[in-house]
Subunit: 203 residues, 2 copies
DNA sequence: GGGCTTGGTGAACGCTGTTAACATGGCCGG
DNA sequence: CCGGCCATGTTAACAGCGTTCACCAAGCCC
């Protein structure tokens, strides 16, 4: 179904009608299959049923397509983190839920996670990325941040929990915990336990 | 000096004499400048003063060159982690030193760090990598591991500290802590504090 | 000193990203 | 209703990349 040129059938011929989205979806498929370095604009064009030059009507470059997806990745992180945090009032459990949500995002949206952290996108050349990344942090701790207790070192704590969750996610993808659902569970449990330990172990 | 064809001058002409090492050094330079995705075998060949086909006498593919460097990266991690751990007998401080060493490795050997974790090398297709990665863990905790107290959950603790250190290193490279020496110090300090909190916060 | 092995060369292939010139067709004003 | 415009497709071309192949140079060993 991904090889069809159109989704609604209205634009049968010369014009695709929804190429931008079709390219983004094809890109995610390719990243899922071959990793971010194995994604190719030409192959994405083929899957969308379009010539290799067509994508440049919608994206300035291959990198720009990845940037668009990276933005979606940051938004998705934001959404998931916010949902995790409002689920409880206990600040320790908020951090634990944040850590678990981080690992789940890396697992369930692996292509987005890879694009965000392994595509080598130069944030200084794409200020939109910088902004989106900051936005994610702001959800956790900022002016009107969502975390309840707001101690003075809340930012440092969020950094520490984010770091440990990121590490578990990376190690999971690296195969350190093995493969399969067991490995995912180990990573989630490790991240949760580490978040609690960090939240309590800070004087 | 990296542009010269020979290092010792003995092989002036047709044969390079030390091409394998020259290519590895050129590759590290390129990764340092352009990131792992911006490294090009052709450019490395040019810097070594050799034709683009020459590298294939020493490496089966571009990926194989990266694998060779990844092995060096794992060895370097091993060396640094072992040194950090023998510096003290206090198990908590051993873990803290390990975390700091992890961040320092990422900073001082950034190209190796990037090749290890961002090159997208398929460990299942390069068992040597799998083995080298396991070796690093063995230094920290294994049969005859170096960590002193060896509680039952020592492996989980090493995973947690490794994860948080990896996260701090990644966030540092991502620019989360800003740029410059201050950012490095913040990452090191965060990793050290987190390691201590984890080491103590585990019942 | 002749031949084998190691390690270079140059040309060629197909694939990639990217650009330029041209084609199509949906839509909007007359 | 229709003619033209603009967004969005096409084809053709280019340079750079990884990789292979046939050929060549030179150090080495008997």
């Amino acid at each position: 179904m991904a090889g069809m040129a159109t989704t609604s059938g209205r634009h049968g011929g010369y014009h695709h009608g929804d190429l931008r989205n079709a390219l983004e979806r094809a890109a995610l498929e390719l990243v899922a299959q071959n990793g971010v370095h194995g994604f190719t604009l030409a192959e994405a064009s083929r899957r969308a049923g379009v010539s290799v030059a067509a994508p440049f009507r919608h994206f300035a470059s291959k990198e720009a397509l990845l940037v668009a997806l990276a933005l979606r990745g940051y938004q998705e992180q934001e959404r998931r983190f916010a949902a995790a945090i409002v689920a409880t009032d206990d600040p320790v459990e908020q951090l634990a839920a944040f850590a678990v949500a981080y690992v789940r995002f890396a697992v369930e949206q692996r292509p987005l996670f890879e694009i965000n952290f392994r595509a080598g996108l130069d944030k200084s050349r794409y200020p939109e990325l910088e902004a989106a990344g900051g936005e994610v942090l702001r959800v956790l701790n900022g002016p009107a941040g969502e975390l309840r207790p707001h101690p003075a070192d809340a930012l440092a704590l969020v950094h520490a929990v984010g770091a440990v969750a990121h590490g578990y996610a990376s190690f999971l993808h690296e195969g350190v915990f093995g493969t399969g659902e067991d490995a995912v569970a180990r990573a989630e449990e490790g991240a949760r336990a580490a978040a609690r330990a960090l939240a309590r172990g800070r004087p």
